[in-house]
Amino acid sequence: MRVRRVNRAVLNLRQAHRAVWHLFSWWLNTPTLPRPLAVLQAFLDRRAEEVWGHVWVSGRRILISLGVGLVLGVPLGLYLGRNRRLDAITAPFIHLTYPIPKIVFLPLLLIFLGLGDASRVVLITLAIFFQILVTTRDAARSLPQAAIYSIQSLGGTEWDVYRHVLFPYVLPRIFTALRISIGTAVAVLFFAESFATNSGLGYFIMDSWGRTDYERMFAGIVAMSLLGLTLYLGLETLEYWLCPWEFRGRAR
């Protein structure tokens, strides 16, 4: 239900957006702001095939980063949230490293990991890992003691606490963290791809800019926006399937 509403909102927004864009490009009449139709053409003609290749490269980088960030951040966050002592030991470290803008490590990563995919994936992972870790940990900390008593009194072990209580309790908030992380991830991706590489949408946009091929550049920008949007809608759908209780029971 909610997904459909979002979809409709997106459509309306896109129409409005296209109208404004059209108006501006007609009014300004400069090659830096091509008409939407021209961009669409750039999308569809032979240069388009190029775009899709870069979309695939960028999408893969983001998905791997999100996957690694989740696999590392969620279990660690759950564990820290449940173990007060370890939490107290690690909290200062997380506190100090969390606010550091991770993108400043790009030069270092390029030196250590080379110019390939690895350095860029690691950079995005670094940026979102902390967001996922901190959200998960804080959510796990807030689990009411009564819920733990409830599962223990049913004969649950520590593993059952994680599986049946802590994880499902935290899951909706992991989705919230991911929604925020996607914005960060796409931004970091753009930065990571704009330097010393020849693949990915970041490169494609910067390269088009350098060639003053604005239609091609806008095609890249649109593709990047669509990438973010697709990830976002994908998350909404996934949450709808994995946390059905969040979407029900509000009627009463």
Partner: protein, 256 residues
């Protein structure tokens, strides 16, 4: 009533540490619950009743004295004890069905056996149609029945309840009290019910332990032989018991 003791409590002590200071919560509590016996524990709020129940459930360990359920420590007997927490303790992310089979699932019962037992108990408690709902989609009384189903499905030897009906309206409460009475009598289940509601204690406790305010001690154990009759509330004996309990609790409050 006879039968072997399900719960034995000898000289139980417990305290909490609040900022380095010891707060004595329970003092010299002695009590025996026999097979099939229904106990109610009543006392002023904050007298350690809930703590007492958690000690019986093996969620907390005594600071002194001994608690035994079926001859061993409650932690070892956790699978024979069922506890219904004050706010039902249902998991909002699990459907009624998933909540009910959870205890069986964690005991490693075969799937088919889980389903057979869960179906039977849901049928018995009139919850069969609600199986696919989430707790948020239920009324208070329905939630409480699901909580009861979830604890009885594991066929425990001891049922512990913390203020089970306090969040319900008066009519629903009485209906559920009768319902519970019927269930525990048919199963001859040993129960300990903690409540601050005097009428509830008189209706559901064959024996009623009156607790003092902090530190909680047992002031008196009131015998309540009339308990067990579904129409007990309409008798004079019931109101005598209620009035007696009330005077006991009021005297306590004035004294402290």
């Amino acid at each position: 009533m006879g039968g072997s003791p399900v719960v034995e409590i000898e000289d139980l002590h417990f305290f909490y540490r609040v900022g380095g200071r010891k707060v004595q919560v329970l003092e010299e509590v002695n009590l025996q619950v026999r097979e099939g016996e229904a106990w109610a524990v009543i006392g002023p709020s904050g007298c350690g009743k809930t703590t007492f129940l958690y000690l019986l459930a093996g969620l907390l360990d005594p600071a002194g004295g001994r608690v035994a359920v079926c001859g061993s420590s409650p932690r070892q007997r956790q699978r024979e004890i069922a506890l219904i927490l004050q706010n039902y303790g249902l998991f909002p992310w699990k459907t009624v069905w998933q909540n009910v089979v959870l205890g069986l699932q964690m005991r490693g019962l075969p799937r088919r056996e889980q389903a057979r037992r869960a179906e039977a108990i849901l049928e018995e408690l009139g919850l069969a149609e609600l199986a696919q709902r989430y707790p948020e989609e239920l009324s208070g009384g329905q939630k409480q029945r699901v909580a009861i189903a979830r604890s009885l499905v594991t066929e425990p030897s001891l049922l512990l309840m913390d203020e089970p009906f306090s969040a319900l309206d008066a009519l629903t409460r009485e209906r559920l009290q009768n319902f519970l009475l019927d269930l525990i009598q048919r199963r001859r289940l040993a129960t300990v019910l903690v409540t601050h509601n005097i009428e509830e204690a008189a209706f559901l406790g064959r024996r009623i332990a009156v607790f003092s305010s902090l530190p909680g001690r047992i002031l008196e154990v009131v015998d309540n032989p009339g308990m067990g009759d579904p129409d007990y509330r309409a008798t004079e004996k019931f109101w005598q018991t209620v009035n007696y309990l009330r005077s006991r609790l009021q005297g306590q409050r004035l004294a402290s």
